[in-house]
Amino acid sequence: MDLIITSYCQIHEKKVVLNDRLIYFMENYLTFADFLKSVYKQEEINYPKFYKMDSVSKLGFLATELVLREKPITGYRSDAMGVVLSNSSASLDTDILHNESIKDRASYFPSPSVFVYTLPNIVIGEICIRNKINGENAFLITEKFDGKVLDNYIRDLFLNSEVEACLCGWVELLGNKYNAFIMLVEKAGIPENGPETVFKPLRFTVENLNQLIERN
């Protein structure tokens, strides 16, 4: 089955790249949270729940917002859409926060609003809530971005489930190192993008995946 990448966004190294275009760059910022907030404001996203999310969810959420802004998924049934993400550190960045709250018996204050984010698939939940996606979802762990693992998983979904379009990619954050690379994958032969988009769809292949994440 021929699959194509119809929109993608990468957030890493202080910049936001949307479908090959650098749309945001911030040379200096105090914290990663400031950087994310600044992207959120600059892109005029209005979704107050954003502020409640942990950093890795914010990262995945922002990249997805931009992907879908360029290529909306309104033509699909909510249960025909899937989300499959992967990363290296699972939720370790937030795990460390939760762990800090239980280290000291004298100040033992584990918080449910932190603990709920100590699972990597919560970012998928956030994306599904925002975009009303009810279909297949999975979170995979690989040491480094692995186009082959993702390609295998996504191809099986298109062949062997009700998925007709799928958001997929990589959402990694640990300390001050971050990289989000999210794309929309659709079946080849669907109606072309509207006139406002300039991105020429790329074939969804292991080679293209591994090259695309290094391109920007």
Partner: protein
């Protein structure tokens, strides 16, 4: 699509180290849930189902000798030991060869070696050990798997996602054989988190009961081998007949208000298996015993026209084992299909959900041809699988 046969399995919980030991405990109405007073796990006593450490260490020494490993047992974490023990039993009962390039290992866990964040382990294990891919690498290397393992971390449905993932890879011909294993350990990290949610029951959990007040945590590991080409066996063949995953798109920690999305996963799994609701002989539910989960599940079972079907939750025996739950409970369901023995939903006394369910109150022997297994978890995820006797 190629058929997917389940050829062998293992369960490790507080109730034993083999599937047979665990099923015998269930049959004898033994629950592994106990009040545990261990400050390394939680500042105050808490109900848990824990794997017996001394027995685990004993068995693990045996496995090191069997596999001719020089690495001392102290170089493996508790969870790695559980995974290795579980996979080694599953492999010992089948012809699946880890070294075969057509074999894939799929691992499910929610938190992996999360206990390594504790100070007492910092000097003992390399910091890489906390990463789930490193856990996967160590387990795969132990058995000499040729392919890198696929690692799934998808909250409480991780185990079912791992089985569905492995089955799909066999169905589409990517691989011919798969070993699927799921595990998680009891840790202060997880116990304190669930406690902060006020999700833990002060008594052993009571799934679907009117008096249920929350879940009980457990630890363990489960494993199964899947193949498209089984060797002849005297036991009846059981296959993975179909499975599906959905998302509520409603709330990250609260389940759906309607159960529609779990129902959708169930309907899709039934359709994949070409099975009608009245052909299901029993349902192995997620049944965590939280107020909202069990209510949502009951609604989903109703929406899928399955209310007459007998249902149990096995969490009253070994607690909620998180990333292991899907594996352990699937293996138990498959055992029920093979043996024709279905088990009481431990902890249940009186109806406590808004949709009347046919909860199994006493062990029963009856022909079981098809079982539906379900699970739901944080992040709004749901999964369902149909297992079937050929």
């Amino acid at each position: 699509m190629k058929p997917v046969y389940i050829t062998s399995d293992n369960i490790i919980t507080s109730l034993g180290f083999t599937t047979a030991e665990n099923m015998e405990s269930l049959n004898n109405h033994i629950s592994g849930l106990k009040m545990v007073d261990d400050p390394r796990l939680y500042p105050s006593p808490v109900i848990l189902s824990l794997v017996a450490t001394d027995l685990m260490e004993n068995r693990f020494s045996g496995i090191l000798a069997k596999f001719k490993k020089d690495t001392p047992a102290t170089h493996f974490t508790r969870l790695e030991k559980l995974f290795i023990l579980s996979i080694s039993e599953a492999l010992s009962k089948t012809g699946t060869n880890p070294n075969d390039p057509r074999t894939i290992l799929v691992i499910s866990t929610t938190k992996g070696n999360i206990n390594l964040l504790e100070e007492r382990y910092k000097a003992v294990f390399n910091h890489r050990r906390i990463f789930l891919w490193e856990l996967g690498r160590i387990v795969a290397e132990f058995f000499g798997f040729r392919n890198a393992p696929v690692i799934i971390s998808n909250a409480c449905i991780s185990g079912l996602v791992a089985i569905i993932t492995a089955a799909r890879m066999i169905q589409t011909g990517q691989f011919e054989h798969a070993v699927v294993a799921g595990g998680d350990i009891a840790s202060e990290f997880v116990i304190s988190g669930f406690q902060s949610f006020q999700a833990l029951s002060p008594h052993p959990c009571k799934p679907f009961d009117k008096e249920r007040t929350g879940l009980s945590l457990g630890e363990g590991c489960g494993a199964m081998t899947l193949t498209s080409s089984p060797i002849a066996s005297e036991e009846p063949s059981v296959i993975y007949a179909g499975g599906a995953i959905t998302n509520d798109a409603n709330h990250i920690s609260g389940p759906s208000r309607t159960g529609e999305e779990l129902s959708l996963a169930i309907n899709r799994a039934l359709a994949k298996a070409s099975v009608a609701p009245d052909e299901i002989d029993f349902i192995s539910a997620h049944g965590t015993a939280t107020l909202y989960n069990d209510e949502m599940e009951a609604k989903a079972i109703g929406l899928s026209h399955l209310t007459p079907v007998q249902v149990n939750s096995l969490k009253g025996y070994w607690g909620h084992t998180l990333g292991a739950a899907g594996l352990i409970e699937s293996v138990a369901a498959i055992h029920s299909i093979r043996s024709g023995r279905i088990f009481r939903s431990e902890g249940y006394d009186q109806p406590g959900v808004s949709v009347p369910l046919n909860i199994i109150e006493h062990h029963e022997s009856k022909p079981v041809n098809r079982c539906l297994k379900t699970a739901s978890g944080f992040g709004g995820c749901n999964a369902a699988i149909v297992y079937q006797k050929l």
